[in-house]
């Protein structure tokens, strides 16, 4: 009786072992038709959808997408953890060409979409336009009360403490905002740090003292007000014609020139099927639009 039970246990262990071994083996075999894409949380939604459509169009392939942040994505592609790293910021020189353990390689950057960052406030906020330097002063914590803010139309804000909403450091949006708006000035360290675009949007939508920044694509149809920056309204047209100042490119990064499945996927990403539908649905601009 006892030995029978022990035997059952041993068989169970053996089966589990066999399953896990088979698992290892199968995942190794599968890796030839498998593509891993890691990086920007900004790009994550559209990359996920592009991956789904790519897999539907190319049966037998598997594209795994995970949003881990632009820097992590670039690091992952450098280390070879993934074939494509996605980023919402430009490569730093130190990243573009790297030497690891005596081997020098360069990362190749393919631009796949354009994005603009909107500075958002609650619709009940009377302020409707600011200069880039005013925005920087607010996010640096130099201006702490809305009554210190006067917009381009001469409207003064109410006597309320400003509720700063910042993004986490993993965010490519924060990095781009820091570069384009803050220009080297540190963010106020007492600001709330939220890890997602939607959270920033819903906090700003609910609080009349709040100010935050999100991708222009996520402003559409939500109860927040995008501020006019340096006299230019945050619209897709103004991003396309280059007048809106807070804009950036979104990148796919590969280690060396993309090859095989990675190359196919990047080409697919640049095809009209993705550019004219998924990219626009995601709130971004196709890469062909608004150059320069």
């Amino acid at each position: 009786m006892t030995s029978r039970r022990l035997r059952v246990l041993m068989i169970a262990v053996a089966v589990i072992g066999a399953v896990s071994l088979a698992g290892c083996a199968s995942s190794k075999i599968a890796s030839t038709t498998q593509l891993t894409v890691m990086g920007s949380t900004t790009l994550d939604p559209i990359t996920q959808v592009a991956a789904e459509e790519f897999m539907a169009a190319n049966p037998g392939t598997r594209v795994m997408v995970s949003g881990v942040g632009s820097s992590a994505g670039i690091e992952a592609v450098s280390k070879g953890t993934c074939e494509i790293g996605t980023s919402s910021r430009d490569l730093k020189p130190a990243e573009a060409t790297q030497t690891v353990e005596g081997v020098t390689f360069s990362l190749v950057d393919t631009k796949v979409a354009r994005d603009a960052i909107a500075v958002i406030v609650n619709p009940s906020n009377p302020i409707s336009s600011l200069t880039t330097s005013q925005v920087a002063d607010i996010f640096a914590g130099r201006i702490k009360n809305w009554s210190q803010v006067v917009d381009a139309d001469g409207v003064r804000g109410p006597d309320l403490a400003i509720g700063l909403v910042n993004r986490d450091e993993a965010s490519g949006t924060r990095e781009a905002f820091s570069k384009l708006v803050m220009k080297g000035i540190e963010f106020d360290p007492t600001a709330a740090v939220l890890p997602g675009t939607g959270q920033v949007r819903s906090v700003v939508a609910q609080s009349r003292i709040a100010i935050g920044y999100i991708s222009l694509g996520f402003v559409k149809g939500s109860p927040v007000k995008a501020l006019i920056i340096d006299g230019v309204t945050a619209t897709e047209d103004n991003v396309a014609n280059g007048t809106y100042p807070i804009k950036r490119n979104l990148h796919f990064i590969s280690k060396g020139a993309p090859q095989g499945l990675a190359k196919q996927f990047i080409e697919f990403m640049l095809s009209p099927q993705i550019q004219d539908n998924v990219v626009i649905d995601g709130g971004f601009l196709p890469i062909g639009v608004g150059g320069k």
Binding site: M1, V68, G69, A72, A161, V193, L194, Q199, V203
Partner: protein, 328 residues
């Protein structure tokens, strides 16, 4: 104790009854093998018994191995930061700005302690009150409602608490008190509810283990229910309640997912209870996705600190229990 009392109460008769029923409960009646075992206890049987005993001991030892492995594998990843920054600058440094090379976790330690203390002040009385209710005050019907509620509170995943705090509690706090709603106040309210099951269950056990005779003695001297609870039962169960509270402290300081959603994650000591703040646990969640190099090492260093804090709490419970036994 209870078992012994049972045994002296029941005599040989129920034992006779118990025998066939328990034999029937076993998968196969042991008649055949029992006779064999009676006739000869072989060397093989003896060896098998010894081997099994050691197998069980090995299983029990997995717990010890687990603690050692955690210490080693979190340790090797985090230890270098102590050498690099210096343990005192790490623990006592006032600035946490890892991307600029500042690895002082003092603000995070203070914030964690602030979060824990407030949760305890709010949740401790709630939990002890609930435990007293369950053990001393409640009618069977009320108990049948409250006890499952406490168990369910323990079962709800912490991420659900966090989500609830984010979508319902945070906007309410923001509307009532101003600010964005991310801050100590919101975290205290969430954590207070989360530590209720931990403290209440153990406090109830402690109260239940106070002998019934002590209650009767108190009532017979004309004490009211409250006087009995306050002057007799709570002091008698003191050690157990302190243990429960320390465990609740551990739960509060180690909680991550519920806190990260409503704390606001600013790496400074907050100016007031409505300002965002970062703790030892939430810094790991926030930074892990992108941390590399020394920054990542520092996060493992924070994990070492958290591990040590939890060990200190467990050791404190040990010491207090031993002390209590000696006094009692």
């Amino acid at each position: 104790m209870a078992n012994d009392a049972d045994l002296t109460g029941h005599d040989a008769a129920p034992e006779m009854c118990a025998d066939p029923s328990s034999a029937a409960a076993a998968p196969q009646p042991p008649k055949h093998s029992a006779r064999r075992a009676l006739t000869k206890i072989t060397r093989g049987t003896y060896l098998k018994e010894a081997a099994l005993k050691n197998l069980f001991l090995l299983c029990a030892f997995v717990a010890v191995a687990g603690v050692a492995l955690i210490f080693i594998f979190v340790g090797i990843k985090g230890w270098p930061i102590f050498g690099k920054v210096g343990i005192f600058d790490f623990l006592g440094g006032a600035t946490w700005f890892p991307t600029k090379g500042h690895f002082g976790i003092l603000p995070l330690i203070i914030n964690s302690l602030l979060a824990m203390t407030g949760a305890l002040v709010l949740g401790g009385p709630l939990a002890v009150g609930t435990a007293v209710f369950l053990s001393e005050v409640a009618s069977p019907r009320a108990r049948a409602l409250v006890r499952p509620a406490v168990e369910l509170l323990a079962g709800i995943p912490s991420v659900v608490y966090g989500f609830f705090g984010l979508v319902l509690l945070r906007p309410i706090i923001a509307d009532l008190f101003g600010g964005l709603g991310f801050g100590l106040l919101t975290v205290w309210l969430i954590l207070a509810v989360m530590i209720v099951p931990t403290i209440a269950t153990l406090t109830e056990d402690a109260l239940n283990s106070v002998p019934e005779g002590i209650r009767e003695a108190s009532y017979s001297m004309g004490a009211t229910k409250w006087q009995t609870i306050w002057r007799v039962l709570l002091p008698a169960a003191k050690i157990g309640i302190i243990d429960a509270i320390i465990l609740g402290m551990g739960r509060a300081i180690g909680e991550t997912m519920a806190v990260v959603m409503v704390a606001g994650n600013a790496s400074v000591i907050p100016a007031d209870v409505l300002k965002p703040f970062l703790t030892l646990t939430t810094v790991i969640v926030m930074d892990m996705p992108y941390a590399s190099g020394d920054h990542r090492t520092a996060l493992f260093g924070v994990a070492i600190i958290l591990f040590v804090i939890s060990m200190i709490f467990v050791a404190a419970i040990r010491v207090i229990s031993r002390f209590g036994k000696r006094v009692g």
